[in-house]
């Protein structure tokens, strides 16, 4: 749906109102499909910015040493044009480990029958190995919402929803399965996968981060009995599930629909879990933030974020040291705004919201990424292309 140019606008010293705008490298023109859009971005070792670009059914990876002022030539990942799922809740993921191996997880197919593939670059992004399937091949089931993290050990964990064993009608009522696969480089020709749990809402993106014990924690929307679409958490290890999943939010959102509104999770170096989510439940409505100091078992009182009358939605959260940043989207009837709140004390107290970007065009979700210097907004919109905006 999004058709964004690859132009990168870097806004520096935002607080002082000074904007530094870098133009995009001319080399892209005509090399890759005109519908090119940055599907994901992350920082790797040496504060190198990595972008995953979806264009004409193909995926490309490029990198920048200078925060988006210039980029390497995009390297293709899949050999042929495929139907890559690359929008809204359903999108490819890029992750870079400490050795600068670059991993890309993506799904191909229709939302009804898709297969996830993993590709790795052992050459710091100069070339990618042929993608290997991580999920079972496409069947009639719904298969969506790829999520992936690289642990500090270098082990990668991939997660996705699938209703392959129950059919979409049952998954709609009871939730789909959450599947996972894990690997360490070098990758085998194919990966085995397994189901971790049932009861996942199959149209909301899954949030995942690595805890201080180097194990992944998943925060997602579940379908609890009575069609309650509230959130839960689970922890995984290379062997599978660590204990049963547990419920986190008690908003009582009874709905037989696709909220298409997944949560976000960031685990700080001190072990504090920072969570944001959306609900239209009986008990509360809107976007909320909360943190937990006991590995997600108990959370602080949910703090409402944004203005409901401006449809505050699609929030992201990221912790860096004791700093924590929240971003989300609002729409005023004409323009979409990205708002941000900052905390310097690990989420105990927060700044007032400030608007950091806007467009009157179609726009993607806002995402937060970080390097050694701080936290950035990574945002696509049709008007400005991909933007990297400093939040300090």
């Amino acid at each position: 749906m999004f058709s964004f140019t690859l132009g990168v606008v870097v806004l520096l010293s935002l607080l002082s109102g000074c904007e530094t705008v870098a133009t995009r490298p001319a080399g892209y023109r005509g090399e890759i499909s005109a519908d090119a859009a940055v599907a994901a971005a992350t920082f790797g070792p040496g504060d190198r910015l990595w972008r995953l670009i979806a264009a004409g059914g193909r995926l490309y990876v490029d990198a920048s040493e200078d925060h988006g002022a210039s980029f390497t030539r995009p390297v293709p990942l899949n050999a042929d044009a495929e139907r890559v799922l690359a929008q809204a809740e359903d999108r490819p993921v890029i992750a870079v480990d400490a050795q600068e191996r670059v991993y890309v997880l993506y799904a191909v197919g229709t939302p009804d029958a898709a297969t996830s593939y993993l590709s790795v670059s052992n050459t710091a992004g100069r070339s990618f190995q042929a993608p290997v399937p991580v999920s079972d091949p496409a069947k009639a089931g719904g298969h969506t919402q790829d999520a992936m993290v690289v642990a500090r050990s270098g082990r990668i964990y991939a997660f996705w929803n699938d209703d392959v064993d129950m059919g979409s009608a049952r998954a709609e009522k009871q939730g789909a399965g959450l599947y996972f696969a894990t690997a360490v480089a070098p990758l085998a020709a194919s990966l085995s996968n397994r189901k971790l749990t049932d009861g996942m809402c199959n149209c909301c993106r899954i949030a995942v981060d690595v805890g201080v014990d180097d194990l992944p924690v998943v925060f997602g929307r579940f379908v609890f009995p009575g069609s309650i679409r509230d959130h839960g958490m689970l922890k995984a290890s290379p062997a599978g599930l660590v204990g049963p999943p547990w419920r986190v939010t008690e908003d009582d959102w009874r709905i037989e629909a696709c909220p298409m509104h997944g949560p976000a999770l960031s685990i700080a170096p001190d072990g504090r879990y920072h969570a944001v989510w959306f609900t239209q439940g009986r008990r509360r409505q809107g976007l909320f933030y909360a943190h937990s100091d006991d590995q997600g078992k108990h959370f602080s009182n949910p703090m409402a974020i944004g203005e409901a009358r401006k449809l505050a939605q699609h929030a992201d959260v990221l912790a860096a040291g004791t700093g924590v940043v929240l971003v989300w989207k609002e729409f005023d009837g004409r323009q979409t705004h990205i708002l941000s709140m900052r905390s310097a004390d690990g989420g105990d107290t927060w700044s007032a919201p400030s608007a950091i970007a806007r467009t009157s065009s179609d726009s993607d979700y806002p995402f937060l990424i970080k390097d050694s210097s701080g936290i950035f907004l990574s945002w696509n919109n049709a008007e400005h292309g991909h933007q990297l905006i400093t939040i300090r």
Binding site: G142, I255, A257, C258, S363
Partner: protein, 161 residues
């Protein structure tokens, strides 16, 4: 026998074209389209159903709507797909397969879909399916989530469908 095959093929092409023509009534939903939909139904109750190919709850609901349409040929139903206009062929094929090709159907056709969602309902976050029950005075009730057939039957009775 040799002559039959091309004829059969021709027949299939004709059938295919006929079906395409029937399903070719997908209107581009733009700024102002909702007012148009409402204006052409002055004094009449109708159900506006907003859906998407990517929404599994919507697909189940579509089967129910198709059944109700057969049962009540006067069921005043308008479908709006939030899929991008580039997916028109897929939407048409889907509606055709479900026997809904004759229902008045629209597809999002503005560069910024958020504007269209806002125009439909400034308090709607985009969850699907989303339905609006319009009464004869065009007071409306918005509902998120898959509808039940009995809900629609009750509304049809209440509004003198």
């Amino acid at each position: 026998m040799r002559k039959v095959k091309p004829l059969l093929a021709f027949g299939l092409i004709l059938a295919c074209c006929a079906n395409l023509a029937a399903a070719d009534q997908l209107h581009p939903f733009k700024t102002g389209s909702l007012s148009e939909i409402v204006a052409t139904r002055e004094g009449n109750p109708f159900l506006l159903n907003v859906w998407s190919l990517d929404c599994s709850a919507c697909r189940a609901e579509m089967n129910m709507l198709a059944k109700l349409r057969k049962e009540y040929p006067n069921f005043n139903l308008v479908l709006v797909a939030t899929d991008d206009v580039a997916r028109s062929a897929e939407v048409q094929a889907f509606l055709l397969e479900r026997g809904l090709a004759q229902v008045e159907s629209w597809i999002f056709a503005e560069p910024n879909p958020q504007r269209l969602r806002y125009e439909i309902d400034s308090g709607w976050y985009g969850e699907l399916p989303r339905s609006y029950f319009y009464d004869p005075k065009h007071e409306r009730l918005g509902v998120s989530g898959a509808l039940k057939a009995k809900q629609i039957r009750a509304w049809m009775q209440a509004t003198g469908h």
